[in-house]
Symmetry: C2
Subunit: 418 residues, 2 copies
């Protein structure tokens, strides 16, 4: 009856290969042979339906319809609609027609052997006849894929929930790094604008005259306008991209993550201690049963001078130990159920937070490209007056202006008379 307590996760490939396509359930015939039923089409087959082709596909929308229920973002709601009762796998419809006590006992024994407790959590063993449908079969939802523990590259055990939490914290870090990147870009723009603005005030060729001089002056001025555009770009980058990236998830976010972490950890601790109680009760029962067995044998072969009273007492104690074990298992199952519910609720919340984060960052990066587009557009407009003035550059007009200002006298020399 004792289950091996191991902390490594099951090979995930094996787990994956065991899950059935949506709608299919696996049953065992009275003869103990597996067969498969599609609960919607009522199709039955001895052949195991192939899974790979019907693995959940994600869609662009963030709401999915599962078995006619609309899954909403709030995890509480989702839980109400999940089509598998939490923490329990319905055993109804199991081997219908196989009702004899002997068979039932065999069956139950078989079922017991299909469970494995890893790190104080009880799972069906992969080889089990029982197929688990996904909680959200049409989505790659966090709530379906993080039940086991994982060894990290350093060899330490990491719970599935920890992996989810790390993802969130990493997301926060990414945000911060993006903000840093934008900050660097802002600096580059400011430097560029400063240099352009400085250059536009250099006195070079300031003495160029006429229409060409005007075009040149405008060309120089256009650098100041460009500088202005880039300054505006950098200031908008700051207020509309960098700052939102920095403030999108404040310090509360990490606190919230810690709260989730502590809550789950507390529930796990309770589960672990209740698992220990189960183990203890199981051992006590085994001791009592052994004691009873020994006493019964002694009575039968008359080796002992114990009275039947002793045996009755031992039987009573054994029954009591059995009741204890039952109570401990109940408490353990309650604790596991609580943890399970919290895991589903929280992982759905983390899922929602991740969607929010991705969409927010997408929005902010879009804002970045919008601002870049605007910058080039406004840059273009700084050139328009230059182009216009260059268009109207006219050497004859320039000569007229220059001659009017600089002429020395238009009376031509004449011949001298004697």
């Amino acid at each position: 009856m004792q289950q091996p307590v191991v902390s490594c996760s099951m090979p995930s490939e094996e787990i994956k290969s065991l899950s059935l396509p949506v709608g299919w359930k696996c049953y065992r015939s009275p003869e103990g042979q597996k067969y498969y039923v599609n609960i919607s089409t009522k199709e039955t087959t001895w052949e195991r339906p192939s899974r790979s082709t019907t693995r959940p596909k994600t869609s662009g929308s963030h709401q999915h319809s599962v078995n006619g229920h609309q899954l909403l973002g709030a995890s509480g709601h989702v839980l109400e609609h999940l089509d598998v009762s939490l923490g329990k796998n319905s055993l109804s419809n199991q081997s219908p027609g196989s009702t004899s006590p002997a068979r039932r006992q065999n069956k139950e024994k078989e079922i017991k052997e299909t469970k494995i407790t890893i790190n104080c959590v009880t799972f069906p063993v992969p080889a089990s006849a029982l197929e688990q449908q996904l909680l959200k079969p049409s989505e790659w939802s966090y709530c379906d894929y993080f039940w086991a523990d994982k060894k990290d590259p350093q060899g330490a055990t990491v719970s599935g929930f920890e992996v989810l939490l790390q993802k969130q914290l990493k997301g926060k870090q990414m945000q911060k790094e993006m903000a840093e990147f934008i900050r660097e870009r802002i600096k580059i723009e400011e430097e560029y604008a400063k240099n352009l603005s400085k250059l536009s005030m250099f006195p070079m060729a300031a003495q160029e005259e006429g229409t060409l001089g005007e075009a040149w002056a405008q060309l120089k001025k256009s650098l100041a306008d460009e500088a202005e555009v880039h300054l505006k770009f950098s200031s908008k980058l700051q207020s509309e991209v960098e700052k939102p990236l920095l403030t999108f998830r404040g310090d509360n976010f990490k606190k919230d993550m810690k709260k989730y972490d502590h809550h789950i950890a507390d529930l796990r601790k309770q589960q672990v201690s209740r698992y220990a109680a189960v183990e203890k009760a199981r051992k006590a029962l085994a001791d009592r049963q052994k004691d009873l067995e020994v006493k019964t044998q002694q009575l039968e072969i008359k080796l002992s001078n114990k009275t039947e009273e002793d045996i009755k007492k031992a039987r009573r104690k054994s029954t009591q130990a059995g009741d204890d074990l039952m109570r401990c298992v109940d408490l353990y199952n309650q604790a596991q159920s609580k943890w399970f519910e919290e895991m589903v609720t929280t992982s759905l919340e983390l899922e929602r937070l991740e969607v929010e984060r991705v969409e927010t960052i997408q929005q902010l990066l879009r804002q970045y490209t919008t601002l870049r587009h605007e910058t080039d557009m406004f840059n273009q407009s700084t050139l328009e007056p230059v182009d216009q003035l260059l268009q109207s550059v006219d050497p004859a007009k320039d000569r007229e202006l220059w001659v009017k200002e600089h002429k020395t006298g238009d009376l031509r020399p004449v011949d001298m008379d004697i």
Copy 2:
């Protein structure tokens, strides 16, 4: 007969106010009163026609039709077609009907008084009856407005030709300064590109995953693309704007300007020395005439014992001095005519060079704005892939990718049995 030699120019406003509209000529009636004739319409009037409304207007084209002749760019050609014979003002049609010798002499005396020699150049005095038509009446041509000298702000005398030359040298300087300005812009672009390129390789948020990670990576890459665009801009600025600005007029240009300067200066020197010869001859004649006069008077009042032979000798010397003066004046007029032709030829050449310079610089500055336009255009194209990837960012897809990679196990816990 001695003309005052002054080096200051005539007040240019006065000169300007004296020139007549195109087609009008000023004549003096036999009674000495001015009247005005329009040589094309044959209209006559005592009223001076207003000049201001018909001052030459410049047009966009660089070829002008004057009196039915096409003025070509080559100064040699232009000279052939100028409608006023060079260095001489036709005196034909002057006071027709006034033919008596006495009157003619009066007239000639009057004409003589209408000339003034300034810095060894003989001009009609502004109060003169003689109106000069512009050499190129429809244009503000250099060849019409730089005959007199000018005092520069330091009080030194500057010839009109010097003013024209300085304009050319200043033009060369402007070119050089524009090239410097473009060089500074190139440096700014290179610096900007370097910074963008460096930033694009920063590892910030490199661990962002999924479609958002792709969009982010593309956004970072777009900075390298932008850098590339700005580098191309700066390299094209260098080859297509800066270098042409620097090389447009090589060292030969200054040499050519010096050649013109020396040529004109040589001609002016000759003119000056011939003017000195005229002055000397004029003085010699005056001396001879005085000598002859004294001798003649002495003979008349019998104060002298000189013979008529002496008087004849003095008269011969006086006649010889008169011939000398005539020859000197001829040589002077020839020198002035040569200088005049060279002035017109060269100033038209400088005019052509200035048109060429303005048009070339206009072209190069247009190239600058074209390159700037292209830069913004290409910058835009660096954003297209970012926009596309941001468009296809999908939180559900990202979750799928992440879950596939990081999932720890999808077998859900089940209740423990006793």
